[in-house]
Symmetry: C2
Subunit: 265 residues, 2 copies
Amino acid sequence: MIIIGELINASRKAIKAAIEAQDAEAIQKVARDQAEAGADYIDVNAGIFVGQEPQYLKWLVETVQQVTDKPCAIDSPDPKAIEAALAVHRGVPMINSISLEKERYERLLPIVAGTDMKVIALCMSDEGMPQTVEDRMKIADKLVNGLLGKNVKVENIFVDPLVQPVSVNNSFGMEFIHTIETVVKTFEGIHTACGLSNISYGLPARKFMNQTFMVMAIARGLDGAIMNPLDKKMMASIIAAEALAGRDNFCMEYLKAFRAGIFES
Amino acid sequence: MIIIGELINASRKAIKAAIEAQDAEAIQKVARDQAEAGADYIDVNAGIFVGQEPQYLKWLVETVQQVTDKPCAIDSPDPKAIEAALAVHRGVPMINSISLEKERYERLLPIVAGTDMKVIALCMSDEGMPQTVEDRMKIADKLVNGLLGKNVKVENIFVDPLVQPVSVNNSFGMEFIHTIETVVKTFEGIHTACGLSNISYGLPARKFMNQTFMVMAIARGLDGAIMNPLDKKMMASIIAAEALAGRDNFCMEYLKAFRAGIFES
């Protein structure tokens, strides 16, 4: 499982305050905690700072990479902000995210074209939120083929089929999950990644439902997640599901996690 | 989800003692507790009492059905014991289970032939334990077609693909799960049911792993389980997975379970 740690996001109060105060230590603690908990990428988002996003995003990348070797997931739709961040990034970053929304697509495609960067391809277009597997695959086909056509390798693409709440429509969970399966079958070697928490919008016991949905998605081929790696129960669910899905040789990671006490909470 | 409550099994110490003492109250408490917790069938097993199995199985059915309207899952490979139990059973029972082992198959097929009883068809033959999807489907094909040929309706058949431990072979989890999916696609209207706890044999944190595997199997179409309905965390996992799989209109069962406190433990 490729885990994108989502906590360094300026829409969170503490992160907004730390960015405004240029409090590197506060940011670095969150970066280090996520890396130690198993994050493969550290997402950085300064989207709420209109006008200052490029400078803040650059500062976040520098600040994070002072304390961890993990690459960043650069979380912005703005090419200026992304380029400012890329100018200082070490290693191979992830771009979070391109979509089929015309402006976003046209501005971000040249940035990833011909590079080895990882890129999340979000199944969203100007026609609104997709509902069915077919809606999503139409967008995914165009996005993936557009990226391939610009010499982005299939194994660097992470399709995000876009989760919608099961409280709104009973079928939204399975439409999402069947899209994961269809994407994995359609584009050999591709990855999938998404934030899952929208699935439980409007329902109680959201954390439990989110964990359950993660396990269901892994059973159908999900191999990436934008999430809080400090959520021990979610990490436990992922580690158990990976072992059960045959992705953990001799259950070594499962046993390691057990010894570390992750199943106790 | 069709839940077969597994607790009234003479291989459990307290049940063995209750049967020997003909302690109806003790048995009835376990029956009532399981029914109240959501069991659709109450499994009864007196298999350890060689020679006395027919009389004890009959007594178990009578004793259980004095306190609940739920039908029993009659858990025996012995036609004499099954017939003794059927003689007193009210409603439509389940037979747990027929298999492709020659003796078992030939002795049980006439009992279910032409009836409306439910029957679990266990993917086991005299050639040993199946390992791959293909192994299991070979057995399932013969079993299901054998039952259909004797006028057992497809919707009364519950295929059990037989879980084997993921600690023995990394791929055993997915071989099982892909069999569930293949069975459901191959025989329209059929059910699947199984005990899942073998999956975690030889590993720590077994309960958590069993819950996780249940959720993965539901994501692929499992709709029956032989289990302990008093295990609140397992029931919570099932209820959440069913809502996410689109099998719970307006998430009513999920909300009901939340109000009953099932997600709190």
